[in-house]
């Protein structure tokens, strides 16, 4: 538990967009997926996911449809729009630049 990292401000959006780039997904699925992909290191306060989804939807980067989940229940599926895809690309780019720069400053441990 102690190894889990709090999410830096603003990265939640990036993670959501990245997850949705793979396939449309509902909110719970996204939280599961992020945890999986980060090998359980990143911890999302699950509640904070939904405001973020609504915010991204308002910006027009993702869209939602109601569909049926794998266990046959009605679930709200989000998918990436075209501008969402562009957004992901630029966010990813700037994130990589940022981490590279920070890594360089910190130097080899």
């Amino acid at each position: 538990m102690n190894d889990r990292v709090e999410l830096p401000q603003g990265t939640l959006d990036l993670l959501i967009l990245r997850t949705l780039a793979l396939e449309p997904q509902h909110g719970w699925g996204i939280s599961e997926r992020v945890e999986q992909m980060s090998s359980d290191v990143l911890c999302i306060q699950q509640g904070s996911l939904y405001p973020a989804l609504h915010r991204l939807e308002r910006r027009g980067w993702i869209k939602a449809n109601w569909g049926t989940s794998d266990n046959n229940r009605r679930a709200k599926y989000y998918h990436l729009t075209r501008s969402g895809r562009q957004r992901l690309a630029t966010e990813k780019d700037s994130w990589q630049k940022l981490t590279a720069a920070v890594a360089q400053v910190l130097g080899p441990a």
Binding site: W28, Q45, G47, Y50, H54, R55, G60, R73, R74, A75
Partner: protein, 879 residues
């Protein structure tokens, strides 16, 4: 952008659907997560607990989702408004106090601003009005004078700074017909005058270029108002003839309704008609009444135009030294000419009104803080169950907004009622050229004031309400924790109220002292029981001097015979006005100066008894007699200033002088008397050189009839009207007033400024007193227990009283010190309104501080006395 809008709209209109979708979405999540925990082997109870921990507060998440959709802004606003409305209704006393205070503050600002806007800011209804400039000539001997018509013609042909120029000469007419003959005002203008201002007659035609030349057929444009009153707005008026003076004139058009000029304009004639019967049109040395309107050429600034005109004037002075030596040009924006002299008073009053609003805001903030203390627990509770601090700030600001809005509406209503009273601040001449009242711009200003005051009085209490420690508030019911900070804030607010009130009080005090000193000035005459009536003999029967003299003599003889009349006289000018004829004089035997440096006194043509009627002191020699007539040697009186200036150390009686600057063509007049100086140009202005000549030796068509009576002078008006009508049926009498009214009008701007400043400072004083009272009484209530303990431990009532009074004392002393410092800086701005009082007059400052201290003490003492009634037993048991 579009999708964003669509999303918000959908969210707004389909609020129910969105809410239930959110519900479904969150339920789906929680079910899946619980399933997951159960599968991992947790008990149902453990799973639920773990879920709550990892998910966070479900209500918080819902709220955040609404925020993210950001429609919630509108929704919560509506919610806040409803909630705010209910809380206000729940505490009507608080609401009424806050509303009343704000209504006064906002009302004062709106009313003053409406006048400021109408006079100083509202764009003039002319094309590119900011490029219109009014030009007049100046001479160091008297200051601003009119423009000689030939000089205007040279300016127009030689200047490059102006795209266009037009001459504007005020003219007067006697209009006969209908019931009572009237004297009306008009303008003789160059034909390009109206097009240059971007105006066209609403009916008929404007003037043609030919109508600038002398000999033009007599035509006029009617003002819209005259067209309505005199012709019942009948279109067939165009082409009709009216009689002005003795001339029959054709109406060719009607001026637009929004045309206005610095002076009242009932009719407008082309310059050619004026030039036909005015020698001044060709005599360069004549500066009768004319001004020049210019439109700055594109890209030319005022300073450039001024520089060019000065060069031009210097050239004209060299070319025509007889007429132009020592004459320069003055330029001012047309706007300034329209706003007259009231600008400084207006700005001071607007500043004062803003101060009143600030005091009102401080007071309302105090009310909010006081109420905030009672609601601390409620707020803490709301924060504890998940409301964000931002949400609470918004809630309180919404309540402030409601109060400000309602206060604003009430204030605007107050202002509408008050505007006519404040408009009396403006001399009628200036007011005629303005448009004062409620309008869009004024309402916009009031709206801005409402929003601004909402922040001024709402923000501090709002931020304060959320700054407390939630746990402590809940535990102790908000009595101990933030109460200290809140009291400090309230003390600070009360201090600023005292300071602001002091500044206003000092301002009012300085105005009062100025007005007092001004009215105590020796005006040189006595206004009591004197009536003035003006007449202008304009018809052709008065073309010859004997007819004019006969008319005045006959009028005087018959008025003097009226019962109750003590004395009567006619004169061309009366004190406290500023429209005088002046001319060069040559004193017999004096070394001849350059043409522009001859003595240039005002010339008053008066009848015998003039000085007796106005009780002007005769210092030496004699006044005019009936014998000073046409065929006897010419005589004159001078004022003390002229006697001193031109005949220092010698007796002026018997000395001779002549009008004009050519001794060779002199008609000598012998000085027979010296009159004391009178305040001819306003109480605050110094005396100038003045010469009096008898009316039988220098006939004047325009005169003021002065009648001194033993009783109420206005009772004589109808009798005098009867006398004049019996001599000449068609002779109008105008501007009838008592001299007392003339004196009052001359100080009316100052007087009304004083009244308003007094009103404002009284208001601020009252609010500040209420502020202090509130702070002290609240702190007494809060400290009841402490006081109880002190008294139980043996403190005497006097000690306790002193303790409470000290708090009020600190507030008032701090406020007075700050206010005095601020006043020293601020009163300089009202310098122009003061008369023989220093803006940092120590007596006024001391008196203001004393009054404020006294009132603050009373405001403290009343609630402090309540400590005397504290029963230690009850106060302690209460806990």
């Amino acid at each position: 952008m579009l999708s964003d809008l669509f999303f918000r709209l959908r969210a707004l209109f389909r609020r129910g659907t969105m809410e239930s979708e959110l519900e479904d979405e969150l339920r789906f999540h929680s079910e899946r997560q619980l399933e997951k925990y159960l599968k991992a082997g947790l008990s149902r109870g453990e799973a639920l607990r773990r879920f709550r921990m990892e998910f966070g507060g479900i209500e918080q998440v819902r709220e955040d989702c609404r925020d993210a959709r950001s429609v919630s802004l509108v929704e919560t606003m509506a919610q806040d408004l409803r909630y705010g409305w209910r809380t206000l209704l729940k505490s009507p006393g608080f609401a009424a106090a806050a509303l009343f205070t704000l209504a006064l503050g906002i009302g004062a600002n709106t009313a003053i601003f409406s006048v400021v806007y109408g006079i100083l800011l509202r764009p003039l209804p002319f094309r590119d009005a900011s490029h219109l400039v009014l030009l007049n000539e100046t001479t160091p001997r008297v200051g601003d004078v009119s423009v000689s018509y030939p000089n205007f013609q040279d300016w127009r042909s030689q200047s490059h700074s102006f795209a266009e120029m037009a001459a504007v000469n005020p003219v007067k007419f006697n209009m006969a017909g209908s019931n009572q003959p009237e004297n009306i005002g008009g303008l003789a203008v160059s034909p390009n005058f109206l097009p240059m201002m971007g105006m066209r007659p609403v009916m008929g035609r404007g003037f043609t270029p030919d109508e600038e030349k002398a000999g033009a057929a007599p035509v006029v444009l009617l003002s819209y108002a005259l067209w309505q009153s005199r012709f019942g707005a009948d279109r067939s008026a165009i082409g009709q003839m009216i009689r002005l003076d003795s001339q029959t004139v054709t109406i060719v058009g009607v001026l637009p309704q929004d045309f206005r000029w610095v002076e009242k304009c009932d009719v407008m004639e082309p310059m050619g008609v004026w030039a036909t019967h005015n020698d001044s049109a060709t005599n360069r040395a004549d500066r009768v009444d004319g001004l020049v309107l210019g439109r700055l050429a594109a890209g030319v600034r005022m300073e450039q135009a001024r520089a060019e005109m000065e060069t031009l004037a210097a050239g004209l002075a060299r070319a025509y030294p007889e007429a132009n030596d020592q004459f320069g040009v003055n330029l001012r924006a047309l706007r300034e000419a329209f706003s007259g002299d009231v600008r400084p008073a207006m700005l001071v009053l607007l500043g004062a009104a803003i101060f009143v609003l600030l005091v009102a805001c401080a007071n309302v903030a105090n009310l909010f803080l006081m109420r905030g203390a009672g609601r601390a627990k409620e707020m803490a509770l709301r924060i504890a169950i998940g409301a964000s601090r931002g949400r609470i700030v918004r809630q309180i600001l919404t309540e402030s907004f409601l109060v400000a809005l309602l206060g604003g509406v009430a204030g605007v209503c107050l202002a509408i009622a008050g505007i006519p009273a404040i408009a009396r601040l403006i001399p009628p001449d200036t007011l005629a050229g303005a448009n004062v009242g409620m309008n869009g711009a004024v309402l916009l200003f009031s709206a801005a004031v409402v929003v601004l005051s909402m922040f001024v009085f709402g923000l501090a209490p709002a931020l304060h309400a959320t700054s407390g420690d939630v746990q402590l508030e809940l535990k102790e019911g908000g009595k101990t924790t933030s109460a200290g900070a809140r009291n400090r804030l309230r003390g600070l607010l009360a201090t600023s109220e005292v300071a602001l009130a002091l500044v206003l009080l000092v301002g009012a005090g300085l105005m009062m002292k100025s007005l007092y000193r001004l009215l105590a000035v020796d005006s040189g005459f006595r206004s009591e029981h004197v009536l003035k009536l003006e007449m202008d003999l304009r018809t052709s029967q008065y073309d010859k001097d004997p007819a004019v003299i006969a008319f005045w003599q006959q009028t005087l003889d018959r008025v003097r015979a009226l019962p109750g009349v003590e004395s009567a006289a006619v004169g061309t000018a009366i004190p406290l006005t500023d429209n005088h004829n002046r001319t060069d004089i040559t004193v017999e035997g004096m070394p001849l100066p350059k043409p522009g440096s001859f003595p240039h006194p005002d010339i008053h043509i008066v009848s015998p008894d003039y000085e007796k009627t106005l009780e002007i002191r005769l210092l030496r020699g004699r006044g005019f007699r009936h014998a000073d007539q046409e065929n006897v040697p010419r005589v004159a009186m001078v004022n003390a200033t002229l006697a001193q200036r031109l005949f220092p150390g010698t007796d002026p009686i018997g000395k001779r002088f002549s009008f004009g600057n050519e001794p060779a063509r002199a008609t000598w007049m012998t000085i027979v008397g010296v009159l004391a100086d009178t305040k001819m140009y306003g109480l605050a202005n110094p005396a100038r050189l003045e010469v009096y000549v008898p009316f039988r030796q220098a006939a004047s068509n325009g005169m003021v009839l002065l009648v001194k009576s033993g009783q109420e002078p206005t009772a004589l008006v109808s009798a005098i009207r009867g006398i004049v009508a019996s001599i000449d049926q068609e002779q109008p009498i105008f501007r009838i007033a008592t001299m007392q009214e003339v004196v009052n009008a001359s100080v009316s701007t100052r007087r009304i400024t004083l009244i308003l400043l007094g009103l404002f400072s009284g208001l601020a004083l009252m609010l500040a007193a209420i502020g202090i009272y509130g702070v002290i009484s609240y702190s007494v209530a809060q400290r009841e227990r402490e006081i109880g303990i002190r008294m139980a431990l043996g403190a005497r009532r006097g000690d306790v009283l002193r303790l409470v009074l000290a708090q009020g004392g600190k507030i008032s002393v701090a406020g007075i010190v700050i206010g005095t410092t601020a006043s020293i800086g601020l009163t300089r701005l009202m310098m122009k309104l003061l008369y023989s009082v220093s803006p940092i007059d120590p007596a006024t400052f001391t008196a203001a501080a004393f009054v404020l201290a006294l009132i603050a003490m009373v405001a403290c003492y009343i609630p402090a006395r309540r400590t005397l009634g504290v029963d230690p037993l009850i106060a302690l048991r209460h806990e």
